[in-house]
């Protein structure tokens, strides 16, 4: 299957301060990521905060121009942000935000906000638009009488439904969900996740689902990429990555998922400092916290490569089992 979206060698870095003389200090949020998203799949991106997963998501949508590398949408390069071509492309790809209250204009009714993309892209107006808004609201489980409400009058889950219906207004092909449920009450999370999965199936959406919640990702995604300090350290079908994690970091993450009927006895507790993109360790960025790292790990950055049918970025994997074609 040909990928609908392809990223090659993506790098993003930000200045962390200003300097009068010389180059300002900078940090790399994303440090060389190759990724392909296939049509109709849900790709999960997991990692701790600071792993660069949100930045990656924004670059995949073309909201940020990468410092290096490129993103191709259906084989075409991503247009520069805020150009006319870029604006037209927004009808095909949309972002679901982490904090729905911040993403909504608190001085507009939700019906007006759901209708905005229709107005912006000049698709329909008047009664036709009103009908489409009502249809969208019903689609995401909002009541018709909520059309004239303001965002602060709704609950968190309802607000996220507003954001989702606004994103769906133009019938997009591709959706990036950036921590879509982490700001919501636990009791609401499952409903919103189920809604997203239903919509994905019914509308034939391609989705990138960014989260630090492994259980949710396991639940919804076909494929998953694990990120650590701006790089993908393991990638593969969701069942395989969670069932048989290869990278030591993924193993530690998976061991921390609580399972019914079993305590966290064999949980791997990570040692050392949590990852900080401003102070990236040399070599394999994970080596200071890794249980199986040795001197070589500090000297070489491991590439993401195939070992026994799986993609991992770990020198130890290569050492233990000789590389075979993926």
């Amino acid at each position: 299957m040909t990928p609908i979206l392809e990223a090659r060698g993506l790098v993003q870095q930000y200045a962390t301060g200003r300097s009068l003389f010389g180059k300002p200090p900078s940090m790399r949020a994303v440090d060389g990521v190759d990724l392909a998203v296939r049509e109709g799949e849900i790709l999960g991106i997991v990692g701790e905060s600071g792993s660069g997963k949100s930045t990656l998501g924004r670059m995949l949508l073309g909201l940020e121009t990468p410092f290096a590398g490129e993103v191709r949408w259906r084989g075409q390069p991503m247009p520069a942000p805020r150009t006319d071509m870029w604006r037209r492309l927004r009808a095909q790809m949309q972002l679901i935000f982490q904090d729905p209250l911040a993403a909504l204009d608190r001085r507009m009714t939700i019906a007006a906000q759901i209708a905005e993309p229709l107005e912006i892209h000049g698709l329909m107006k008047g009664a036709e638009a009103a009908e489409r808004v009502a249809e969208l609201m019903a689609r995401v489980g909002l009541r018709p009488d909520q059309a004239d409400r303001y965002p602060h009058e709704l609950s968190g889950g309802q607000r996220q439904r507003v954001v989702i219906s606004r994103a769906l207004a133009m019938r997009p092909k591709f959706l990036v969900c950036d921590e879509p449920v982490s700001a919501l009450d636990v009791s609401i999370q499952a409903q919103v996740v189920n809604l997203l999965r239903d919509l994905q199936e019914q509308e034939g959406l391609t989705m990138v689902f960014i989260s630090h919640d492994l259980k949710v990702v396991h639940n919804i995604c076909n494929r998953v990429a694990v990120m650590y300090l701006g790089r993908v350290v393991e990638e593969g079908p969701s069942g395989e990555v969670f069932g048989d994690p290869r990278h030591p970091y993924t193993r530690a993450l998976v061991s921390s998922i609580p399972k019914a009927g079993r305590g966290l006895t064999d949980r791997i507790i990570l040692q050392g400092e949590p990852p900080n993109p401003a102070m990236r360790p040399p070599g394999c960025a994970f080596h200071p916290r890794c249980a199986i790292a040795d001197a070589a790990c500090a000297g070489e950055i491991p590439e993401l490569s195939g070992h026994r049918g799986r993609l991992t970025a770990c020198l130890k994997q290569r050492a233990i089992i000789p590389a075979t074609a993926a």
């Binding site: 301060g17 200003r18 009068l20 200090p25």
Partner: protein, 309 residues
Amino acid sequence: MLNFILSRMARAVMTLVMVMSFAFIVMRLSGDPATILLGPDAPQDAIDAFRARWGLDDPLWKQYLAYIAQIFTFDFGISMRDQMPALDIVLERIPATLAITLPAMILKLGIGIPAGVYAALHRESIADRGVITLSIFGFTIPSFVLALVLVLIFSVQLGWLPSGGQDSWQHAILPIVTLSVGGIGIMARFSRSAMIEVLGQPYIRTAMAKGLSWRDVVWKHALPNASVPIVTLVGFMVGALIAGAAVVESIFSWPGVGRLIVSSVANRDLAVVQCLLLVIASSMVAANLLVDIAYGLLDPRLRSKRSAH
């Protein structure tokens, strides 16, 4: 920290360059600099000599550079009223202005800050209400109205203080009071809100939970933190004082810089106005630079951090 100071100095220099450019643009827009700086009655050969000397027939950018160079040699032209170098006239007036602005500044800080801090520590008390009310009156009464009311009471009715001139120290009292009242009000209000904000911070609760005495909490934790925003206001106060001096010196016939600027604007003595503009702007920029550096010294976040925010 060094980087911080350097960036502030760069900004100060940039502001000065902008003031100079402002003066240059305004002067070029308003007419021929030769007649402006020499006066409309200057003889033709003097004007020709001036034009040749300052290259007024050169392209504009060359004129601009020449103008900057001229300023750096402290040549601000000749006052058309007194036929003296403009800078001399201005410098001569500075001591008189300092004689009323410095005491006014001391009063502003010495009364305004303690009153504001006291009000913040005794919120909702009668003293707090009084400080708020007085401070609102302090900065809504224009200085010229206040000055006239003071003259009416203390000079005309009571005959205690002279209403104008510079013959004795009594003559300075009314100008100083007029200059400081508005500033005391602003200072008190600002100190009050800065202090209230600091007192609401979690570290104050922590300090109190540790069992520190209220006195120690206020002196060691609240005041040092509240002083950071208060110091920034001091820079603004310097500007307000100079502007206030223009009005107050005119009313009380006090022979300082402020009265000079009003009379030279009225007489269109442009060489003097231009010189005053640059001198005042330089002192303002210098004051703000000092405030910025003081701010950096008071704020430990800037002290330790290498880069400017």
